[in-house]
Symmetry: C2
Subunit: 337 residues, 2 copies
C-alpha cells in the first residue's frame, strides 16, 4: 500500500520537505512561514491523504509516544479492565498503548520487554511474573521509565501501584472468624506471586490474632495451567479431611469461580456447610447463588495512577522519583459468607 510521503507533498507544491514538515507539525508561525503557503500545503496534504510514517518519525525523534503494557492474561477481566483504563487515558494524552500477555511466564515476559524496547517505547507498565527480577533491575538501572502494577520486587526499588493485599485478606478472614468459622482453608496459586503471598500473610495474621492455630494443610495451591482440575482436587481433599474446613478463602476471583462450581457439583451447601469468599471481584460473582463475598480491585485507580506516574517519569525525568502507591480495598459482603 503506497502511502504518500513528505517528499510527495513537497514535489506537489514545489517546496522543500523541511517546509512541509514544519507546517504539518504546527511550527509554521515560529518559522515565519506565510499563511498562504501554510494553507496551500495543508490543503494538498489533506487531498493527498497524508499521514506521517510514525516509524520514521520515532526513529528520527528518538521517542515514539508509545507505551507498553505487559499483563499476565488479557483474558482475566481484572487485567482487561486495567488495560482499558490505561488505553483510554493514553489516547487522551496523545500516546499509543501496546499491550501483550506474558501468560505468567518469565521467558515470555522477557521477550516481550525486548520486543517493546526494540520498538522504542517511551515507557513500560508491567504486572510482572515476579520471576524476572533481572530484566526489571536492568530497566531500572538504565533509568528506563517503568511502573510495576499489582506485583513488584521487594528487592528492587521501583515505582509501583498495588493494593492492600495483606490488610484486605486480614480483614476478610477476620470477618469469617467473626462469623464463627474456625477451620478456614485458603486456595491460592502455585507461584511466587507477591500479592498472593501477601494475601496468604493476611490470612495467617488473621488466624493468629484470633488465636487459631495455623495449619499448613489448610493451604492449597492450584495450578495456573489447570485451575479446573487442581481446584477440584483441592476441594475433594478438603472434603475428605477428618475435620473438613467450614470456610474457604480464594486468592483470586478465577479460583473462586471454579471453587464455586466444584462445591455445587459436590452438593456442598454454601454458606451453611462451607462459606466462601475471595480477593478480587468480577461482575458475575454477584449474580451467582449465593452471591460471593469478595474484595473488588480498584482497577480504575490502578490504571490511572500507573499511567500518571509513568508519564511523569517520561516527561519530567529530572524531577520524578520512585512512587509506591498502595491502594485501599474494601470487601463486599454477599451471601456466600
Amino acid at each position: 500500500m503506497k502511502r504518500t510521503s513528505l517528499k510527495d507533498i513537497a514535489n506537489a507544491v514545489n517546496l522543500s520537505k523541511t517546509t512541509i514538515s514544519l507546517i504539518l507539525n504546527g511550527k509554521a508561525k515560529e518559522n515565519n512561514i506565510s499563511d498562504e503557503t501554510v494553507n496551500r500545503v495543508l490543503a494538498v496534504s489533506r487531498k493527498m491523504n497524508y499521514s506521517p510514517n510514525s516509524l520514521a518519525r520515532s526513529l528520527s525523534m528518538g521517542r515514539s509516544k508509545t507505551i507498553g503494557l505487559i499483563v499476565p492474561y488479557i483474558t482475566d477481566s481484572f487485567f482487561a479492565r486495567v488495560a482499558q483504563v490505561i488505553e483510554r487515558q493514553c489516547s487522551s494524552k496523545g500516546y499509543t498503548l501496546i499491550y501483550c500477555s506474558s501468560e505468567e511466564s518469565a521467558e515470555k515476559e522477557r521477550s516481550q520487554i525486548n520486543a517493546l524496547l526494540a520498538r522504542q517505547i517511551d515507557g513500560l507498565i508491567i504486572a510482572s511474573s515476579c520471576r524476572n527480577g533481572e530484566d526489571i533491575a536492568l530497566l531500572k538501572n538504565n533509568n528506563f521509565p517503568l511502573v510495576l502494577i499489582d506485583r513488584y520486587y521487594p528487592a528492587i526499588e521501583t515505582s509501583h501501584v498495588t493494593v492492600e493485599d495483606e490488610p484486605g485478606a486480614f480483614r476478610l478472614v477476620s470477618y469469617l472468624i467473626d462469623r464463627g468459622h474456625r477451620r478456614i482453608a485458603m486456595v491460592s496459586v502455585s507461584s511466587e506471586l507477591l500479592p498472593i503471598d501477601n494475601r496468604q500473610k493476611g490470612y495467617r495474621r488473621a488466624l493468629e490474632s484470633a488465636g487459631i492455630e495455623y495449619d499448613e494443610r489448610m493451604i492449597f495451591e492450584a495450578d495456573n495451567a489447570d485451575h479446573e482440575g487442581s481446584v477440584r482436587r483441592s476441594i475433594d481433599a478438603m472434603l475428605s479431611m477428618s475435620e473438613p474446613p467450614d470456610a474457604i478463602f480464594f486468592a483470586n476471583h478465577l479460583l473462586a469461580a471454579v471453587g464455586f462450581k466444584v462445591l455445587k457439583s459436590r452438593e456442598i451447601a454454601i454458606p451453611s456447610r462451607m462459606a466462601i469468599c475471595c480477593f478480587g471481584d468480577s461482575s458475575y460473582l454477584e449474580l451467582l447463588e449465593p452471591s460471593i463475598t469478595a474484595i473488588p480491585m480498584p482497577f480504575e485507580a490502578i490504571g490511572n495512577e500507573a499511567l500518571r506516574i509513568l508519564l511523569d517519569q517520561i516527561e519530567s525525568p529530572e524531577t520524578s522519583c520512585y512512587e509506591q502507591i498502595v491502594l485501599p480495598v474494601t470487601e463486599i459482603i454477599r451471601q456466600s459468607t
Copy 2:
C-alpha cells in the same frame, strides 16, 4: 536508555556495519563470511546485549512483521479470547500483534486504523463497528491485507470470518418454540451491527416457520453505553405488557447476564415464568442458577482462521483471494430454558 547499535558493534570488532548486519541476519554463509568472523561478531554482539532497533529495520525493509487487531471491547471475554488466540499464533510465527479497542465507535476505529497503518503494520484484523465502510473500502482498494471478523460489510467484498448467526438464532428460538413458548421477546443492542441483525433475522424466521406472528413490540434494543439501565427498562416494559413474554432471547452474553440479574431482582422465576437464552457464551453462564442456555462462539477457530487468511494475503499476495468463512455454532441447552 542508550541501546547498542550496529555501528557500536562494528567499531568494537573493526568491521563494517554491513558485515555485522549480514551476520546477525544469518546471511553469513551466502556471503562467504568466515566462521571465525561470525563467531567473533556473535560473541561481541551478545556481550554488548545487542538487539536491533525494529523501527529502523521496518523502515528500511518496508515491512514490520507486525499485524494489528481492532476489537470493540477488549473487556468483552469473547474478544479477549480471540485476541489471546491470535497473539499466541502470531508469536509462534514470528509476528507481533498490536491490538486496541474501538469501543464500537466508527471514529475511534478510523483513528486506530490510521495509527496502525502509520506504524507500517503488514496486515489488519478488524471486528468493525459496521459504520466504517469508507475505510474498509479504502484498505480493500489498496489491496492492503485485511480480514474482518465477527462483522463484515455485505456491500464490500473482503475476506472475513464469522459464525452462523442467522441459523444459530433460528435453531435456538425454534427450540424455545418446541418447548411450548409462544411469546418470545428479543433483547438486542441498538446498532447496525451485522451479526445482531442476522440473529434478529434468525429469530424472526423461527417465529414465521412456526406460524407465530412477528410482533415488533417484542424486540427491545439496549443501549451499549448503559446495558444495565436499558435492559432493566426493557424487562420492566415486558413485564408490564398485558400479555408478557414467556421467554427472552438475548443477542449476546453480556445482555443475558444483565437480564438475568434484573429478572432475579424482580423475582421472576427462570425458566418457569420466563425462559432465557442467548447468543454467545461466557464461563459463568453455566455457573448461574439456573444455568443459561447459550450458543458458544468458536473463538479459537475465529482467531486461527482469521490469522491464517491474513498471513496468506501478506505472504502470498499474488495467489491469495478473498475467503469468507462462516463457522458453525451449536447451542448448549442448560437449565434456563
